[in-house]
Symmetry: C2
Subunit: 118 residues, 2 copies
């Protein structure tokens, strides 16, 4: 059993949380897919594709927008929504970091084993 001296301080990393939460909903993932396929789209045209209400889609888009996964260009009364895949990198980076932490431990373990019972 190992001992820890103090609480782990993990930065809430609000942005990453927001991103992952945004993308963890199936409807929002579908919206992103649609936007990537068809390019900039109006809210109405997006909403027409789903069985839920216009307002529900509007809210989903707002979540995606706050997370930076879409951008909005308002021309007159119509809002043109476009996917923005830049943020994906932040999530991929976390995966990468986690994997490297994992690998580092394995390497340490390997070194210890090679050096015998020192």
């Amino acid at each position: 059993m190992y001992i820890f001296n103090h609480m782990v301080e993990y930065k809430d990393d609000h942005i990453l949380t927001q991103l992952l939460k945004a993308v963890s909903d199936a409807t929002r993932r579908s919206l992103l897919t649609q936007l990537c396929q068809h390019g900039p789209s109006r809210v109405t045209d997006l909403a027409d594709q789903y069985e839920m209400s216009f307002n529900a889609i509007s809210k989903h888009l707002k979540v995606l927008e706050k997370a930076g996964m879409i951008t909005r260009r308002t021309i007159g009364r119509t809002h043109w929504i476009e996917a923005n895949l830049d943020q994906i990198g932040l999530m991929e980076d976390w995966f990468k970091e986690l994997k490297s932490i994992w690998e580092l431990r394995l390497e340490r373990l390997d070194t210890i084993l090679k050096n015998g019972g020192n």
Copy 2:
């Protein structure tokens, strides 16, 4: 304005949703980090590092377990928890797919532009 004939059928992709939700919580991400750093750990030792209750951590671990992000080996009364990064691929695959859908549209667009107003 483009026209869609029918509702978009997006597979709920329950597994991906479960994975992303599991990982979208800062405490659970921290737990995964700890597990990667220190290797197999007991629930008690993990919980000791956080300010929240033992039971809260136990529940977080259950969420991670259901998503397949950790595995559990029970020896006597102690549960040895280990990170399992295999599932990360599923999330990365979705990112990759999204990007490729994006690229495909750009290519189509490019072709149209090159062929002039055909």
